[in-house]
């Protein structure tokens, strides 16, 4: 029993906090974290509710392996209905807050209602209270973190909080924990701010224990760590270059979305790559990368800690940014870099610092700026809207300015906070928005990696690489190599990745382990820790159940098969360079087959037989 079996329910409208036992019947069917919290959400809210209204709920959840010595066992997720997509949202974060919640004795914290005034939740093991946050409202996530630590005079508190972007209504605001880790996607921070909940501060000293079979657990987790250490990606590539190990690789295969996805290769990729982060700068002789860093319990340590050149235009005379902080991961480097045509690594790092400081998703933000840059270049947005800023592709000053105004929700930053879809609609060019279900694309062009087109189109939280990372197979050959330029076999591949990932996201472990681990490596760790019989087969079934449950929530929320599509650009405009030259994404060839193997009707609805098979 690696669950604590305790759920905290916080009613923000009434200001009450109650405890209840974890529903163990559901835990047996949905495991924990993403699966189990989604089950709670689906059972408790109306899918049609206003995501920013009092009927939406927000759940912070750990997994059964969170807080244990399993490698990467420190993850937590935030589950809610997304204001960006109207679909179910589940944003996953590392850092240290997940372990702290678990150590304080909680599997899950459910927030409901809206507080009449700003508050934060303070948890010290069994003790939990809502405290006034009027003095924190209007502060950045970094300032909030510092102020709460000072107030409680306790440096060991772990904090998850929202910044000013969320307060200003930016639709892709995340929840920042431990200064530079984030439940970043789908606007979960926007929901938190809409509840007048500024922060969750936790101190846990109870310890995590009571694993089912301690000896088997220590053995299974040690074996798992050995596999990670010996794997080329998790043992060498990720610690050395972070996820940025991908920048040059993806560019070379012609799947690097560039300038709002007009192109598939970026001429400046090598200048903003993981390798470039190691190179001493000509200006100050120091590299951008200061060190790599691990989240709780992680033996991979892919995190980037960066320092910007003090003479760089972005931070001249701003000593508050002279120290080291969370640097650009691949997704951020892509969105802020190649998608905006910017090849200035320090400008990208500065924009990334601001995304952390005020809690907004660098993927959605960068992609929205890219759309705004294209709108500017065609004259749909002018210097009148931007207050004189030349919002052109490749302009690092425009990127830095865009991050500054979005962080605070000032001026044109309000428009950028709408996200790409609403921005492009507002300025009369909806086709220029590179989104699915309202959520911006991540860093893999589906013309160069065909399976990712189906991944994006069918993802339950809108465009996302973390729902089925077929890049692993199509580019890196994990677990086996498939041709990225063909559609054959991709529906099966996408389904397999979707189901397995949903299971991994429900354990408390990090999905990056799956560069080296399969469910064959993960199931023994879960099984040694948790009651029940957790085989790879059962975990796959749990993953499929979760996927279908999320799908049904989205259908009930009003989404349909028509939303399982891609922007016209990716279906009609062929790649102009690289190995994918002449290719568009073949979504039409994949989608009907995908519905069929999912056991869904041609309209994308799970059949009665599928529902019965999965116990839905």
């Amino acid at each position: 029993m690696a669950w604590t079996r305790n759920v905290m329910r916080v009613n923000l409208t009434k200001g009450t906090i109650t405890n209840e036992p974890l529903n163990m019947d559901w835990a047996m069917d949905y495991l924990g974290q993403r699966g189990l919290a989604s089950k709670y959400l689906v059972e408790e809210i109306d899918p049609k509710c206003d995501a920013l209204g009092s009927d939406n709920k927000l759940i912070m959840t750990t997994g059964p392996l969170t807080g244990t010595c399993a490698s990467t066992g420190g993850r937590y997720s935030v589950v809610t209905k997304s204001p960006l997509t109207g679909a179910i949202a589940c944003s996953n974060s590392g850092g240290f807050i997940g372990n702290e919640i678990k150590n304080a004795g909680w599997d899950m914290i459910i927030f409901e209602g809206i507080s009449p005034s700003p508050v934060y939740l303070y948890v010290e093991n069994d003790k939990a209270e809502l405290l006034p946050a009027d003095d924190l409202w209007g502060e950045s996530a970094w300032e909030t973190d510092e102020l709460i630590h000072k107030k409680h005079q306790d440096p060991l508190i772990r904090i998850a909080c929202v910044g000013r972007s969320a307060e200003a209504g930016c639709l892709y605001a995340g929840i920042i924990n431990d200064l530079h880790r984030a439940a970043g996607r789908s606007g979960v921070g926007t929901v938190m701010a809409s509840k007048n909940l500024k922060a969750v501060a936790v101190r846990g000293t109870k310890g995590v224990g009571n694993v089912k079979d301690p000896a088997a657990f220590l053995k299974a987790t040690e074996q798992g760590k050995k596999v990670l250490a010996e794997n080329a990606v998790t043992g060498q590539g990720l610690p050395t270059y972070g996820t940025q190990v991908l920048m040059n690789v993806i560019n070379e295969i012609g799947a690097m979305p560039t300038r709002n996805m007009r192109e598939v290769q970026f001429e400046g990729a090598s200048k903003i790559s993981g390798e470039a982060m190691h190179e001493p700068r000509p200006t100050d002789g120091r590299p951008n990368l200061t060190t790599n860093a691990a989240c709780f319990g992680c033996t991979i340590a892919c995190g980037r800690i960066s320092t910007i050149d003090q003479g760089h235009f972005s931070i001249q005379n701003k000593p508050e940014y002279w120290g080291a902080s969370g640097g650009a991961e691949y997704e951020a480097a892509w969105a802020l870099g190649s998608d905006c045509g910017v090849d200035d690594l320090d400008a990208i790092t500065y924009a990334n610092f601001l995304c952390n400081e005020d809690g907004f998703d660098p993927i959605s933000f960068g992609s929205t700026v890219a759309a705004a840059m294209e709108l500017f270049e065609i004259g749909a947005i002018t210097t009148k809207e931007t207050g004189g800023m030349e919002l052109k592709f490749g302009n690092p000053k425009a990127l830095a300015w865009a991050a500054e105004v979005t962080a605070k929700g000032e001026g044109f930053g309000k428009d950028l906070g709408l996200g790409s879809k609403r921005l492009c609609e507002k300025y009369g060019h909806p086709d220029l928005s590179m989104t699915v279900k309202g959520q911006e694309f991540p860093a893999y062009d589906p013309r160069g990696i065909q399976g990712m087109g189906l991944t994006y189109a069918t993802s339950n939280r809108g465009a996302c690489h973390l729902r089925s990372y077929t890049v692993a197979s199509e580019v890196l050959g994990i677990p086996e190599k498939t041709d990225p330029l063909v559609t054959d076999g991709k529906p099966e591949l996408v389904k397999a990745f979707q189901d397995a990932t949903a299971a991994v996201d429900s354990t408390g472990l990090c999905v990056f382990t799956t560069f080296a681990w399969t469910l064959e490596d993960i199931a023994p760790q879960v099984n040694a820790a948790c009651e029940g019989d957790w085989t790879p087969e059962k975990m796959t079934e749990v993953g499929e159940r979760i996927w279908n449950m999320e799908r049904e929530f989205n259908l009930a929320a009003g989404l349909t098969a028509k939303d399982d599509t891609l922007p016209k650009r990716l279906l009609k405009e062929a790649a102009k360079t690289g190995p994918a030259t002449g290719k568009v994404n073949g979504l039409d060839e994949m989608l009907p087959k995908y519905y069929q193997i999912r056991g869904w009707t041609p309209d994308g609805v799970p059949t009665a037989e599928t529902r019965q098979r999965l116990g839905l």
Partner: protein, 159 residues
């Protein structure tokens, strides 16, 4: 041969596997809050520093204890706390110049690193080699080797 914990902060990633291993060995729970080795994060500098008891020869804690609850383990060199003798007076926590002896409110006695009886769990759990358990007389050996290597010619064909 006596061994010592050797700490190389530049290799530490801040993952806290050492804290989990330490607390699990001592309490049966993964509980960094009671770990006897601690990782300190210096965010602005981008550094992580593991810190624990160095097992002083003339240990301040041992000399300060009024009830002789801190004793030398002759085999490992560790200064160990005898929990059933300790009265929780905390004088040792004041005496230690490094802060590595601490009081535990739950057990009502002090706790410190005891080298796990000669097989320290933190060193085994560290994935990067930032914490190792080496010959006590030669903790500087690897650093000496690294500096010695700097004098090698860049191109071996020049030898």
């Amino acid at each position: 041969m006596l061994k010592s914990l050797q700490i190389e902060p530049e290799k530490c990633t801040g993952c806290l596997q050492c804290e989990m291993a330490c607390s699990y060995e001592a309490t049966g729970f993964f509980n960094p809050a009671v770990s006897r080795i601690k990782i300190f994060t210096f965010h602005e500098e981008g550094r992580f520093v593991p810190y624990t008891c160095t097992q002083c020869s003339e240990a301040w804690c041992m000399h300060a204890c009024p009830v002789e609850a801190i004793v030398l383990n002759e085999t490992t060199g560790a200064k160990e706390v005898l929990e059933d003798v300790c009265v929780g007076c905390k004088v040792c926590t004041i005496a230690c110049p490094f802060g590595t002896v601490n009081y535990n409110q739950q057990t009502k006695v002090v706790y410190k690193c005891d080298l796990c009886g000669g097989d320290p769990e933190c060193a085994k759990a560290c994935p990067t080699g930032a914490i190792t358990y080496v010959d006590a007389d030669h903790t500087g050996m690897e650093r000496m080797r690294a500096h010695a290597a700097q004098n090698l010619p860049q191109d071996s064909s020049q030898i």
